[in-house]
Symmetry: C2
């Protein structure tokens, strides 16, 4: 980094390959100020952007932030938003080099992140999955979707352990980008990787489409986060639907050659991270989530969640 | 460029120095859909971002676009917005590598642009102006502000030549980033450079502050675009106020060693571009716009313009 903010543009002298991703969070579409504290809004916007770098196996480098601020949001709240971003940046060694501040009708955060790798060959694309690969996920799923349920319907937490409810809300409000896991999995031979922002089913479809392969997920193998079963029961929903259809967990979905899975799991374990095999890559196309008898399960169709997604398309 | 959109992030292998800038355009703040056609909205958002690269003397490389689209904007209009961006990208050899599409309450365009130079030493910062340098601008000023007047108050065009009125509106709606001029001025020895987005007075202040110097502008030397006098007269305004206070012309303001000015002007002239000396760098601080008698003129204070600016701060 040669020059940061304060000039027309920031100057860097990157070596090797550069990875760039952009992500936008808009009030009323991706978050509500009624349920998300300012620091969490900043935290999540940067974390979600960095998650795309994690999914490439890149080292996070720089971030550029554009903030649109409505009159109703005061300087104090702006500082808290910036503080949430700064905490994530610090935790992952990211330099916030530039930005842009503007009036706006609602709160808008547009984040650009830049990552690095010694060469393009060290990065993992979405397209490399091959029939026979194991399909794995980091961590446990459904926490972010269950947390969203708790934020939108606080009465669902009534019978729930308080610490568990707090954890679930934190999974929704303050996700952690899996940057270390991404690099470990890239080094372990990952053939394709994506972060779980849209949900297991939808994101597996991207891997299937980009690779020209079919992905089969065994529903019984999906690791479900603690408390998700309880929230699903209280909400009259299915835990698998929250875990595979809910999105925003920002864990990584990865395809690995079958003989690389064990080594990858061991390497992640030494970083305190879990890796679970959830299925396999097959020839064909599409994604199937299968129950114990091998029948397909439909996990899509949560319109109230879908409306909160960053991938939402205009009608 | 190794991989463009369609993956989690775009991959590039830049050589030398990289220059990154972000810029956001928000409906109702930076433009109105009632007066700006969709292709112009796309054109201006990318052009304004590239203008920051021009002000560094960089070669434009890549762009990343985040689009927030309200329900009222259909697919056709989105394609026209994209078309306006694509035309600017093509004209300047820019690769649009990635993007993000989201629902939004109003139309939002957040643009990230990346430029390149062989090394940081070849780039021009805001901070290098030295007492004795000449202060120059490319092109002619006030066209964008006069065009905005014509768009907001169409009756002002009544007595005006139609082609001239069209030119002024185009200066507001479809500005051209001065990328070639920026590189020529960098090569000619520019010590400090900035693009005129906020207006001559405000942008000169950035150069003065970053360099720890004073900038004196001679009001009579400011090159005023054709038609600006007429629009100013019809609007009951002062042409100098439009030219020095209006902003959005996206011309370049540059400080040059006095003996480099002639060579720079000649090099620009061979590209069909004008360079006008408008003042000088002195010791001290701040910016003064001086009339023929050496008295200071205040050109600030256009609240209706100020409200449209990208640098607007939240109240």
């Amino acid at each position: 980094v040669v020059a940061g903010s304060g000039d027309d543009a920031a100057i860097t002298v990157p070596g090797g390959a550069t990875v760039t991703s952009v992500d936008m969070a808009i009030e009323g579409v991706h978050f509500r100020r009624e349920t998300a504290p300012p620091d969490a809004i900043g935290h999540k916007a940067l974390a979600a952007a960095l998650s795309d770098l994690a999914a490439m196996g890149a080292v996070a480098g720089e971030a550029y932030v554009q903030l649109g601020v409505p009159d109703a949001v005061g300087e104090d709240e702006c500082l808290q938003i910036a503080g949430g971003m700064a905490a994530v940046a610090r935790a992952h060694g990211v330099a916030v080099l530039g930005g842009d501040l503007s009036r706006a009708p609602v709160l808008i955060l547009a984040v650009t992140v830049v990552g690095h790798a010694p060469s393009p060959a060290e990065l993992v694309r979405r397209s490399g999955a091959r029939a026979g690969d194991a399909v794995c996920v980091t961590g446990r799923l459904g926490g972010a979707a269950a947390g969203l349920q708790l934020l939108e319907r606080p009465e669902l937490a009534d019978g729930l352990d308080r610490a568990l409810a707090d954890d679930l809300r934190a999974r929704q409000l303050r996700p952690e980008p899996r940057l270390t896991a991404g690099r470990v999995l890239a080094a372990a031979g990952a053939t394709a990787m994506i972060d779980l922002s849209d949900g297991l089913a939808a994101d597996a479809r991207h891997i299937a489409e980009c690779g020209g392969v079919r992905i089969e997920i065994e529903s019984g193998a999906v690791p479900i986060a603690a408390g998700v079963e309880e929230v699903a029961r209280a909400a009259g929903m299915d835990a698998l639907h929250l875990a595979a259809g809910g999105g925003e967990d920002y864990e990584l979905l990865v395809a690995l050659p079958a003989d690389a899975q064990e080594g990858a799991a061991a390497a992640l374990s030494s970083e305190g991270l879990e890796l679970s095999r959830v299925g396999r890559v097959a020839t064909g196309e599409g994604v199937a989530i299968l129950d114990e008898s091998g029948s397909e399960i439909d996990v899509g169709g949560f319109d109230h969640l879908r409306d909160r997604r960053s991938q939402a398309r205009p009608s």
